[in-house]
Amino acid sequence: MPLSPAGIPRCGGSGRTADHDGTRGAPSHVVGISHSVCTARSTMERTHENDEDIASMSTTTVKRLDRVIIRFAGDSGDGMQLTGDRFTSQTALLGNDLSTLPNFPAEIRAPQGTLPGVSSFQLHFADHAVLTPGDAPDVLVAMNPAALMANLPDLPRGATLIVNTDEFTKRNLAKVGYPTNPLEDGTLESYDVHPVALTSITVEALTGFEGLTRKEKERAKNMFALGLLSWLYTRPMEGTELFLKAKFAGQPEILAANLTALRAGYNYGETTEDFANAYEVAPAAMPAGTYRNITGNVALALGLVTAAHKAGLRLFLGSYPITPASDILHTLSGLKRYGVTTMQAEDEIAGVGAALGASFGGALGVTTTSGPGLALKAETIGLAVSLELPLVVCDIQRGGPSTGLPTKTEQADLLQALFGRNGESPVAVLAPATPGDCFDIALEAVRIATTYRTPVIVLSDGYLANGSEPWQVPRTADLPDLRVEFATEPNGANADGTPVFHPYLRDPETLARQWAVPGTPGLEHRVGGIEKADVTGNISYDPDNHDHMVRLRQAKIDGIRVPDLQVEDPTGGARLLVLGWGSTYGPIAAGVRLARALGTKVAQAHLHHLAPLPANTGDVLRAYDHVIVPEMNLGQLAMLLRARFLVDIQSHTAVRGLPFPATELADVIARAVKE
């Protein structure tokens, strides 16, 4: 039975509508101005319950916004990812819809204060459905000149800029090539600049902490910034306080310093005259249910655990650390309570080998990797094709070729996944569309792997892996039953009538062979990578048998039942289709909606199954005058679809290591409509 959720993103997906999605053409992006309609509707006075406080601070108005895009940017060592993560968690708990984009260098600590060392975290949150982390930030927090220089080009005029002035020293300015101080030379004239001496105020706030060095005090400046932003956007900080208490449980003074810095940042916002307004973003309307914030890697890990549970199999992960897939290994290694075994192997090949060995023994064998690792695993995946055993291979794609861009996103492993092995070596290939969808895709991968006894490659990517969104938590009981039956009896007989086991006898419906695990009496058999005779599995060099087996293995994959491709076309009159796969879902959906907002009729469809393709794919493609396929590669899916269906597809590609801006796709759609 096909999984109902796969193919339909659970969150941030087509179930909800978004009118703008953080992509605005107008240049006026000042917080509170661009949203003046909302602001006018809901401006209210903040009420202070403690009268004594009021005397000491300015009266601040709280304005309501419908959405905000914040980017935290600083040095790799400034803790920007943590700051972004915490702000995101606080935002999720408030019930906003959100989408995030962590963006960091591959170097753990590039030289301090330099452009290569800039790390950023962008968060888009709103009172309505959001589909992307947003094209352009409304607010940039720049912790040093390098962060300002690297991110200013993305900042629309009028945006809010919070700058750590302490870092704008001659030396730091020179490091990035600012001839004069941009805070003073008029460079930032068209922005709403809030200069804050973040470092020195943090150090000042920690005066009493005599056990800490100045450097240790400075390190808490990200918590000060988080406190300030928490005030500015009225985010509750209890979750972060609990987080810090757990993180620094063994270091009471560091904990106290971080909590103090966090509160000092909050109080600074409240006290200073610099910020005239604080802002609120109301919870988004979402279907009733329980939600959590989730990244793609965590969703994939949880999906695998859940699938193993529903299948009644033990989960075995064989993996080798690689960016951006390692978090799946980290997550699963902490879930032994759920019967999960993880093995950090000596290399990529051993990771998949151990997983395949575990599958042979009746476990759910899984391996996780990125593009370079997938290349190394190719031969073993080919063996799994020949053995016809279940195996789930998760490729969290990153920029290539070779080492490429380890921390940046790309979807250029599609052809490697489909064809990157010797011989005719077909496997099933799936791709999640959003971080939350990684959960559903994991279940779907396990369904296909176990039902059809085949390797399944899941193509996630860096953007989905590290990006997060609110996710409606499913009830385990409502998820599909994935139970698996092992072979227990001989399935054939010798010429003399003796019962025997034929390892390559197939189910006529699925073409899957039986899964007979060691320890089952009477089913002793041998499998291997050398070509086998159909049914008996004996070594066979017979030409016709080989031809037969090659076609059989292909037919098995082609025959996997997958849901039809769904087309979203609200007017029903579109002649233009935008088709995507994988993580481009959000940007495409946002671009399509921008185009629709301008009256353009455009349909959208998204592939979750790349092999086999949904049965109606050709019909869908041929039903439109014009098909655009945006991809973060040089047109791999477009090439496949052209070859397979003879449809004149327009390929739109970018390989910048970042997701498509929605506006770029809206432009592509607009140009296509004009033609």
Partner: protein
Amino acid sequence: MTTDETVQTTPVGPGPTPGSAESGTARVPRLAEGESLGKKDFTSDQEVRWCPGCGDYVILAAIQGLLPQLGLKRENIVFISGIGCSSRFPYYLDTYGMHSIHGRAPAIATGLATSREDLSVWVITGDGDSLSIGGNHLIHAMRRNVNLKILLFNNEIYGLTKGQYSPTSRVGQVTKSTPLGSVDQPFNPVSLALGADAGFVARTLDNDRKHLTSVLQAAADHRGSALIEIYQNCPIFNDGAFEVLKDRTSAQARIIHLEAGQEVTLGDQVAIWDEVSGIRLVPREQADPARIVVHHPEAADPSTAYALSRLDTPDMTHVPMGIFRNVTRRTYDDAVREQVAAAQTAPVTDADIDALLAGQDPWTVSA
């Protein structure tokens, strides 16, 4: 020099005490009382296709003879091989088996052994398979101490690809790919295994069935990684490589039989400790009795075993045979299973999964 500490590893969870002598097959289901199996039960219906005179035949017969003696249920025995002539082995045994890909058998077997404590898992490999393309997996399987019995058929040549030199071929050996003689220094597989801290390391000879069987039996009993180097003649591409060890007279002059608790001797020579060259052979009358080496395969420190492995000479003037090392230390697969078992206090229910999925900070949206 390695100390006892490396051997006496710290327990990482509840379970048998490290160093306990639990058998390698202790958790594998055994035949019922009165049940027995014979060689025929371990012979598959496949025609054996090694070249006439190949040493692999003898090894196959020895294993088919040994397996019934282990008293294990046949369905709980698995043979996993890589690629090469010897790696065809699993097809000829009527157990569960996998003929995998070049060099990867130890990795695949590690996944199987770790996820199934009720299996007796054997790896069949050759010198090219395990020491060249699969060298990394071999050393890591031994380092981790996975409960695998690794049978390394060493014929000092690539047979299946028709006669190129291998990582154990001798310097100067003329082969198809070394027409002027090999310039590669060969590996000593026993030294390599000891260097990787394998708990059980032995060497035996294909045509000495009795010795071969006794070594394999000891390996099966050992809980942990066991590396057994089997000198195996390739009659086509490297015929006679071990002939000097097979001819009764010359063998007597060359083979040092390692026996636990016994002095290490060769004819009237005896092995002594020497500060400069480690262990060397000297005529008995010249030996300081205090320096005579008595073989202790159970010694936690592998240094002596390693020094014995260096008695080997490329021209096989003297070759130690037998069990170099047999010490028990905690196995990887047991430790992994114990961590999972300790964490898994109760069966996983839907409610457990529901709680896992909801995470630490869920929120509720009401209708």
